[in-house]
Symmetry: C2
């Protein structure tokens, strides 16, 4: 090693040691533990997929988890099959019947969303469950198929150790206000625009 | 049902029928099937988590999958344990030794990244694998620990049926150019800012 490269290595070490000290202080300053209300919104891909990733991580920790699907119907074979591998540790509740342009029946859509919300309330009341995904709840709220105020109040009043993940575009401001963590998925580039179809194993 | 609500239901049905026709035409226009190069970038949460969700969905489809971790070290217990449930269908390769401010040794970081990339190349050459996650590869590229041009060329030359997911902040423009799908995770609200610590089952 030349003297110069030895100097450079020392500079790198000093810089990173300082960065580590800042990082460690930041970590030490965070002491609160609580069940989080997490929202994945925005027009990009990955909202439901990141919720699935959280389910997987929680399953790996031995937690019981549940997913309630408010809108989607048949597009979930891959994830359902994977979650079934964990047996009674996970439960999956598909109560939506597809997007509203599939059913073309508003009264039926509203009934399905209310049914799904009742199921979500029952799951939130089960003390054995540590993480619940409310998939596409934002769509149900956007179309006013559920009462926003009542839904947000119930989510705010969740058990202190329960994590809830809400997905879907156009999250309502009241929900964002109540949330601990909100990620906006932005679409930088999309293969659908290049004529690539939705494929098994990737989209469903 | 009153006449008025009957009219409203009819209007809703018509509107949704038109929307469905547009939707169906859009779906029909997409005919290409190909292995995608997917990039999850941006400052928000969910980049690695959404990659895990893709792994889970692919596992549910019975595919063989692999994950190579370029930077992270010990923060992966939850997801590793979950993926181990799928036995030889999934393989996990943790070759990074932590963030660079942890090791404070640039030469060691570079060696670890090169080792990880060699492993990634070997996995990409295995025709049995259908999806590979290259976790935090963007960090390795950002610090110039790997040759950008060579990495992008190899990713572009991947097998036609192989999906590759690259995660990490600050994705390089050349990688975005080569990608089929790019999602930017934006941070709208973060619980760390409110003093909440990284918690088991959620962050790791």
């Amino acid at each position: 090693m030349t003297e110069e490269s030895g100097d450079e290595a020392a500079r790198h070490r000093d810089k990173m040691a300082k960065r580590k000290a800042v990082q460690d202080a930041e970590v030490a300053a965070k002491t609160i533990e609580k069940g989080l209300l997490i929202v994945h919104t925005g027009p990009g891909k990955g909202k439901t997929t990141a919720a699935l990733g959280l389910m997987l991580r929680a399953l790996g920790r031995g937690w019981r988890v549940a997913c309630v699907q408010f809108i989607k119907g048949g597009w979930d074979t891959g994830e359902r099959r994977a979650v079934e591998v964990f047996g009674p540790q996970a439960s999956w509740h598909t109560l939506g019947e597809g997007f509203t342009w599939e059913t073309q029946d508003k009264a039926r859509d509203i009934a399905a969303c209310r049914h799904a919300w009742k199921r979500a309330e029952a799951l939130m009341a089960d003390p054995g469950i540590r993480l619940i995904v409310l998939d596409e709840l934002n769509i149900a709220l956007r179309y006013d198929y559920l009462d926003l105020e009542a839904v947000v109040a119930t989510l705010r009043a969740r058990r202190p150790d329960l994590h809830v993940v809400v997905t879907g575009r156009n999250a309502k401001p009241a929900l964002i206000e109540a949330a601990d963590l909100v990620t906006e998925m932005g679409s930088v580039k999309h293969h659908f625009a290049a004529g690539v179809k939705a494929q098994e194993g990737i989209e469903f």
